[in-house]
Chain length 200, copies 2
DNA sequence: ACTTCTATATATCGACCGCTAAATAAAGTG
DNA sequence: CACTTTATTTAGCGGTCGATATATAGAAGT
């Protein structure tokens, strides 16, 4: 017979697939990565993909969770309640800039950028994951600087978004971290000028 | 005859079509607006669309140019060479925040967000338009504060990107402008502390 | 070895994408 | 009026999107 006896490869590594998807989604964003891109990168066929992950959006969520576990900033250390904000906030901004610009191909924050997906489901997943970090910043500031916690939290949030977007757009590591240092210095000087009443 | 004698409406207003496209692209971004969305909003058929504008990307460019002419910040006034940076930069940030958050549906900067399109041609058009504004900021700072013009320009650029992204994500007008005021204050204090040597 | 279950491969599906060829109605010109 | 030009119409192109129905190969249980 001319039958070429269809070949079947052993089961693929699902966790490795999540890692591959994480890299693709991080590099190009949710909308710009197609099923064909994913299945080709994982070297599997669409039915295997859907049997393993359910849908593109579900895999995106798993990829973001993996990203968060691997790359989340140590907010509980950076924003320890006994740390003065003039020290903690600059450290947070610098740590973020370093991470956003470290890898020349996986740039910016995967979750922050995920919130900009055109697909509503993917966007909501990213927003849900991001809200945790923002709440941590807000809770820290409510504790250590309640007089304008919202204003400071918003400033930090906007700066983080700007750093992520600039990283994605290609701003080099040195300039990204320099911006973070500048923003941190400005915050620190302002906070120290407002209330040097920590001693006495 | 059963001929329902196909009806034809008079030629449509091409400039009005650009305005409609501008609003759609600004609200949803280049990739999320389809040809069907555009032709339906303009109440024309695809061939009329292509006869008038050539392609979706070409219309996007016309829409961005129209946006720039209508909404561009008056950089030559805001960044007048005789204006001290401690006054000009906060004014620039506040003017941007006010514009980005003014309209509840057309949020953020259409050009800044256009640079994030998945389509490479659209992205390059937006980048080309955006580079003018960035160069103006850089040229101003080279003139009035050459010692760290790049660092300051990068800081302003990152903050503007963060403001635009936050506006698109829904941050209310009051909080956007408050962030701009905060960032402006920080810059002003730092600049005035560094060099009060304007007199003598 | 034989059956059962699971995960893979082939081959699409329907919807939508940006875009266009061919036919036809209105407007311009004598 | 007759003729040409221009812009609109209907209809559909080739392609890609995310996702699937069906058939079959390997792994597991006995």
């Amino acid at each position: 017979m001319n039958a070429k006896t269809r070949q079947r490869r052993p089961a693929f590594d699902r966790e490795a697939g999540v890692a591959i998807a994480q890299a693709l989604f991080h590099e190009r964003g949710y909308d710009a990565v197609s099923l064909a891109d994913l299945t080709q990168a994982m070297d599997i066929k669409p039915p295997s993909f859907y049997a393993a992950y359910g849908s593109k959006a579900a895999l995106f969520e798993r990829a973001m969770l993996r990203y968060a576990q691997e790359n989340a900033l140590p907010l509980d250390e950076l924003l320890a309640p006994d740390r003065p904000p003039a020290e903690a906030l600059p450290a947070l901004l610098l740590a973020a800039a370093e991470q956003y610009g470290r890898d020349s191909v996986l740039r910016g924050c995967m979750i922050t950028e995920g919130m900009r997906a055109d697909d509503p489901a993917a966007r909501r997943m990213a927003e849900s994951l991001a809200s945790g970090g923002l709440q941590a910043i807000r809770a820290y500031l409510d504790q250590v600087h309640p007089q304008d916690a919202e204003s400071l939290a918003d400033y930090v949030s906007v700066t983080l978004r700007g750093l992520s977007a600039s990283a994605c757009h290609g701003m080099p590591y040195e300039r990204l971290t320099q911006v973070a240092r500048t923003a941190g210095l400005l915050i620190a000087h302002e906070l120290e000028a407002d209330e040097p009443t920590t001693a006495s």
